[in-house]
């Protein structure tokens, strides 16, 4: 019996690790962090759901039965369905080029890919208005040919693509750089064509990092407000995405409906968070290089 007690006694006699703070400081820091999280993250999230159900379940459901809400959901899904695959393909191509080849202007390309993250989304939207708008650079020409970009669905899709541009590429560039080109070279020496090597070697090596980035890209594509707000024109039932619909309802003092629709977006965020955590936990190694880059 005495043997089982000995280590405990030793542990108490030994000074605590040099990088560990005293107990009070530790609890104080943890307490501040939890309080902060509760106040600024958990409380607002709960408020969304509380407000959404403030007038009961029937009122909550009613927010989704009106035609404008349906249109907003459809448009948001459509935007994501176009923007995410586009950025997926572009992101893979860009990271492939950047990670596996040396070429002139590579650093410039990396900087450009990052641009949407450093520019305010409102500015991103304005850029499209200036280019495609009625007074813009190519807008009049497009109007002559009966193509409307601004205050229409194409503008919303373009603005969404712009703001979600960096997600996939930024995740994959460090991952691909870390993996190098040896496996691809091995595949080529074994007689595989470039496409076969890409499909059987490169893609499986980045699959979890890719899924991770698509998840984040999708969350942003569905949730984007600023850039879309500028180009949309807020035409009910036509150019309103979910976030814009929330704003309109809120401005009309229709709080229950506003928060009900908002709860949909909050739910999307929670699902994204859950899937993201699962991926991080299960495939940490395979998305690590990318995760460090963030």
């Amino acid at each position: 019996m005495s043997e089982t007690f000995a280590p405990v006694a030793l542990a108490e006699a030994r000074p605590a690790s040099v990088v560990t703070e005293g107990r009070w400081i530790r609890w104080l820091l943890i307490g501040i962090a939890i309080l902060f999280l509760a106040l600024f993250l958990v409380l607002p999230l709960l408020t969304v759901f509380a407000q959404a159900f403030a007038k009961g379940f029937a009122a909550y459901l009613a927010a989704f039965t009106e035609a404008d809400a349906h249109a907003a959901i459809r448009l948001t899904l459509l935007t994501a369905v176009i923007a995410v695959p586009f950025n997926l393909v572009f992101g893979i191509m860009a990271s492939w080029a950047i990670a596996k080849f040396e070429f002139w202007g590579k650093n410039l390309l990396v900087t450009l890919i990052d641009l949407p993250f450093s520019v305010s989304p409102v500015v991103s939207g304005l850029i499209y208005v200036l280019v495609f708008g009625a007074q813009g650079l190519v807008g009049p020409w497009l109007l002559e040919h009966d193509v409307q970009v601004i205050f229409a669905v194409p503008g919303i899709v373009l603005a969404t693509i712009f703001v979600t541009f960096p997600f996939v590429a930024r995740q994959l560039i460090p991952l691909m750089q870390e993996q190098g080109t040896a496996e691809e070279e091995a595949a080529l020496t074994l007689g595989a064509s470039g496409w076969h090597a890409f499909r059987t070697v490169t893609l499986p090596n980045i699959r979890w990092g890719l899924l991770y980035s698509v998840l984040l890209c999708n969350a942003r594509a569905m949730g984007e407000f600023g850039a879309v707000s500028v180009v949309s024109g807020h035409i009910r039932g036509l150019t309103n995405t979910l976030p814009l619909h929330v704003e309109i309802l809120y401005n009309e003092y229709n709080f229950v409906a506003a928060f009900a629709v908002a709860s949909l977006l909050a739910g999307l965020a929670l699902v994204t968070l859950l899937l993201k955590s699962v991926l991080e936990w299960r495939y940490a190694d395979e998305i690590a290089a990318g995760a460090r880059g963030h």
Partner: protein, 354 residues
């Protein structure tokens, strides 16, 4: 003995006047070399000598600025890597992480066009044969992450052999392994080569590895071929001080040549200078080509700095008056105390112009 095996003799690969420049640094200068069918050839050189670049150009993973690569009678200089039928083994294995051992080995066969692809059963049989060859029969369903470095490199070799390449190219194949595994794998590679007769070129910066393993050694320095020959030839008759120095530890001594005789500090040595080499020259000796000697017989004098034992011998560091330190290898009998004065006699070596 590796040096004794004479194979075929016909040229399998001809490297003609190859030049390659990366950015502004020239990596290969007008480089030519013939590789004989069935031989095991080592490309030996310090880092930056261009040996890996040469191997990659032969494989088709890099392309030369000038010069030609000829496989047999076929000009392969512009042939894409897929059509060269080379087997390449990378220093860090480059196994496909997400594929099992069997899938890795079968990769090259499965990558073929449907019309050229062997039947499933045939692929399975070939993978089984190769696993037997590399003595990893029970490992077909394992994944690379479950294997040791030595096992991974054997799988990489089997994967390269599976496509029945015209030539096997190995880039520092044992560079990432620890000393004991390295030695085992060297012998094993030699055995596999003797059994398959596969024309093989391997890159190494390790002299022992090159000398032990290869039929012929090509010594590279600064993008040029210094010498190519059997391990015995390059050791007994190095063509330059660079080759000599790269093949092992050397002691460099000022000497005077006259009528074939070589003198150090006015005393005759047993080393003979080739015709035409007269005046001040350099004499290079290996640590075992120096003996301890008393006053009149010694060519060099110095003070013992330290000594240590290595595998039944001892190595003694001797400080010479001019400030240079030389290493002497001797039987592990008399130990020398640090600080004691000693004389050294040269019993062999090579001479080259200053």
């Amino acid at each position: 003995m590796p040096g004794d095996t004479e194979r075929g003799g016909s040229t399998a690969i001809r490297v003609e006047n190859l030049s390659k420049t990366f950015d502004t640094a020239a990596v290969l200068h007008d480089f030519s070399l013939d590789v004989r069918a069935g031989e095991l050839l080592a490309l030996l050189g310090p880092s930056g000598s261009g040996k890996t670049t040469l191997l990659r150009i032969i494989a088709g993973l890099d392309f030369p600025d000038a010069g030609r690569i000829v496989f047999g009678a076929e000009d392969a200089t512009r042939l894409p890597v897929q059509q060269r039928a080379v087997g390449f083994v990378f220093q860090h294995y480059a196994l496909f992480k997400h594929m099992s051992v069997a899938e890795n080995i079968a990769y090259g066969l499965n990558a073929r066009k449907r019309s050229e692809r062997p039947a499933k059963a045939e692929i399975k049989r070939r993978v089984g044969d190769l696993l037997d060859l590399i003595k990893l029969s029970g490992f077909a369903d394992r994944y690379p992450s479950q294997l040791s470095g030595g096992q991974r490199q054997r799988i990489a070799l089997a994967r390269a052999l599976a496509v029945e390449p015209r030539v096997l190219l190995l880039d520092e194949p044992f560079g990432a392994l620890d000393a004991q595994v390295r030695k085992d794998l060297r012998r094993w590679l030699r055995e596999i080569h003797d059994r398959t007769g596969q024309t093989t070129i391997f890159v190494t910066h390790d002299q022992d590895e090159a000398l032990e393993l290869s039929d012929r050694v090509a010594v590279l320095d600064k993008g040029r071929l210094e010498q190519v020959g059997t391990p015995d030839e390059v050791q007994e008759a190095p063509v330059s001080a660079t080759v000599l120095k790269f093949l092992g530890d050397t002691i460099e001594v000022e000497a005077i040549a006259q009528g074939g005789a070589v003198r150090v500090d006015g005393r005759l040595t047993p080393v003979r200078a080739p015709e035409g080499l007269v005046g001040p020259i350099k004499l290079y000796a290996r640590p075992w080509q120096l003996q301890f000697a008393e006053g009149g017989e010694a060519h060099l004098h110095g003070v013992v700095r330290s000594s240590y034992r290595t595998q039944g011998r001892q190595r003694i560091e001797v400080d010479r008056p001019e400030g240079k330190t030389v290493v002497v290898e001797a039987a592990d009998t008399n130990r020398f105390a640090a600080g004691s004065p000693v004389g050294l006699r040269i019993i062999g070596g090579h001479v080259f112009p200053n």
